[in-house]
Amino acid sequence: MRRVRAHLLAGTLSLVLGTGRLARGDPYRLSIDAVGYSQAPQSPVGLLVLQGDGQANRWADAEALAWTGSTTGNYDVLTAMVRLHDPRNFAELRLGRQILTVGALRPVHMDGADVRLRAPTGTSVEAFGGVPVEPQFAYRAYDWMAGGRVAQHLGPTTSIGVSYFEQRADGQLSYETAGVDLASAPARWLDLAAHGTYALIDPGLAEAGGSVAARFGDFRPEIYVTHRAPSYLIPATSLFSALGDTPSDVVGASMKWRMFPRLDVLPLIAVRDTAGEVGLDGTLRATLRLDDRGEGAVAVEGRRQGSGPDQWTGIRVTTRVPITARVRCSTELELVAPDDPRGRGSLWPWGLIALRWVPIRSLEVAGAVEAASTPTATREVNALARLGWNWGTR
């Protein structure tokens, strides 16, 4: 197993490093970031992230991200994938570690293969199979997943799809779901999207959602609904899935308003019904851009979670101010007040001040100090640092 892991990691690193050489002349990106975090009261941690993606030619592209941490044996691969396709993307084969977003199914992290075929009639078919990603390649026998989606475009602005997914743990079904998704933009100012996922093992509606958004000049109103049954989100092999359907439903509305050329305001209100308990959640966010391009900005957000057993109120103020063309200062302050502190302090403040310096196009240096008073520590101070280097196009 150790040899397999070593080979997989070596393969990923060659893919990351090979991307740049492979894609000479075509767009590619390769970067390395070193991040340090003091992480009080635990030991400091360090992280080295190496990532690359590029296009070898019109038929192939690749991407990979590998990382290693400061603690012994702490390494992993986030993605390592080769994508082979015809220049017009009628057929596509994705091989390796990837994230799949297939119809109404939640994104899954998989080591395997994904095939997509698309007909000029607007019909598309996708099928995938592989093993679920386990940290540090600690695969288990008889764990696998498979699924697919069939979709049809109805005109240039509407798409409808049906999907299926199953996952097995130790050979036994742990998830089996079918989903339907729909998206449409019937007018230039109107967007509609909806999805529903039905659990097939313990039959019931696992997740559903819908959103209608419109755009009228400086206003963008949106109405949305969500339905989520947590018992279907845990594997069917867990005892807690046997409790049955316990849904949480939300109906909400938001309205983005460009009040002034540089000021956006977004109020959001939602009613949540969880097992018969009804509560109100609300957010009010305002973003003021300090220049036309929004490089510098100040944002204020007030939030009230008035549903459920642990209600709370919070406010967050963030700033991002370019001091010179190469230096940028950012701050963030958050205050959270739980309705029932239960002896954990009545106010939980959190603050950060950060500086970023880009001395040359490829190099980026950043440092920050964050301080907080948390439910578990009266005072906590952390230092963060990042050093990044980029090659290729940005």
């Binding site: 977003t101 119809g103 069917a236 963030t318 196009t393």
Partner: protein
């Protein structure tokens, strides 16, 4: 006198507000195209010489101080400094360079078709010189974008490298409103649209099982970056989990995820921490017994700690004939084989 001072102060405050909110243009003025074209009647090519035959391999055709002087208009500049130091906004040049770097565009092709009518694309250049760069929406008034994308599922027809360009769409799929909540609903139906700009690494940054650190922790200096786990999330994560049932389970599927962190920070029972459950959590019939309603409300929270051996704690009471009774909801059915599959076989022998 007092009234006058007050009026003056009010006027100053309004002017300052107008400046901040972008109602007034900033102090550094855009290049006065209006003065040159509409008023002085100077043609575009006098300053942007050669632009009509330029391709995307040529440099930008922006005038320099030498152009202004040698054209015979500003033979005696009022200042010895570079004209561009005061006239013209920096970002207009940056955007023009970015377009040259990233777009498959030639002035040569367009000028032939448009019969050298620059103002067709550079709309309003003769009156307003701030935003002379055509928007993508304007490109789409001629180019059949939906058709192009629909045919090849790629933006390569116009964009050389859209991922490297890191452009945020203005005219379509604008990431507007509460996009963090909304993005999933949109991505379900159009993953290929998302993938035209975002790589799998981008999605896996939050949805992956081997994420090195959350994007907001890696890019800690970009405080305006959207993220679920922003700011003091560690402090408020228990509040968020309880107010939004199942939210955590949509990404975090294993109990080890919670246990690893709780064990390190000493807040779980097995590492000597206090039990998170209040008094009266588990009681006999007729006594305070809150754990049942909490489990109905969000079983995924219970599953975060009580998996594996922890499940036997529940089964001790909750089985037919035992004190806790049948744990299933009325009408509950399953395709599981009761005596073979987990977790059924724990009770159904």
């Amino acid at each position: 006198m007092k009234r006058l001072t007050l009026l003056l102060l009010l006027t100053l405050m309004l002017a300052a507000c107008a400046e901040i909110l972008g109602i007034r243009p900033p102090e550094k003025r855009p290049f006065p195209h209006h003065e040159h074209t509409a008023k002085a009647g100077i043609g575009c090519l006098k300053c942007h010489a050669g632009v009509l035959s330029s391709t995307d391999a040529d440099p930008l055709h922006l005038p320099t101080t030498a152009t202004c002087v040698s054209a015979g208009c500003h033979e005696k500049p009022h200042d010895s400094r570079d004209c561009r130091g005061c006239h013209g906004l920096d970002y207009v040049r940056t955007e023009a360079q970015a377009d040259l770097d990233h777009l498959k565009f030639t002035h040569a092709t367009h000028s032939r078709r448009l019969k050298d009518n620059c103002a067709f694309c550079h709309r309003g250049v003769e009156t307003n010189s701030d935003h002379v760069r055509p928007t993508m929406g304007l490109c789409l008034s001629c180019h059949e974008h939906q058709e192009d994308f629909g045919q090849a599922r790629t933006c390569n027809r116009c964009h050389k490298d859209i991922r490297g360009e890191q452009v945020r769409p203005e005219s379509h799929v604008a990431h507007d409103g509460d996009w963090l909540r909304e993005h999933g609903n949109r991505a379900f139906s159009a993953p290929e649209l998302c993938q035209s700009c975002h790589t799998d690494k981008y999605c896996a940054g939050c949805h992956g099982r081997t994420t090195p650190a959350l994007p907001e922790k890696l890019k800690f200096d970009d405080t305006l970056r959207a993220g679920v786990h922003r700011a003091g999330f560690v402090s408020r994560h228990s509040l968020e989990a309880r107010t939004q049932p199942g939210l955590c389970s949509t990404c975090h599927t294993t109990s080890e995820f919670c246990e690893t962190c709780h064990a390190k920070s000493g807040v779980d029972v097995s590492s000597g921490g206090k039990s998170p459950h209040p008094q009266g959590w588990v009681g006999l019939r007729g006594e305070s017994n809150d754990h049942g309603s909490a489990a109905w409300r969000d079983p995924s929270v219970c599953a975060a700690c009580h998996t594996g051996a922890g499940e036997s704690l529940c089964i001790g009471c909750h089985r037919v004939g035992a004190m806790g009774g049948n744990p299933h909801r009325p009408g509950w059915t399953s395709r599981m084989r009761p005596t073979i599959d987990q977790p059924c076989r724990s009770c159904h022998e």
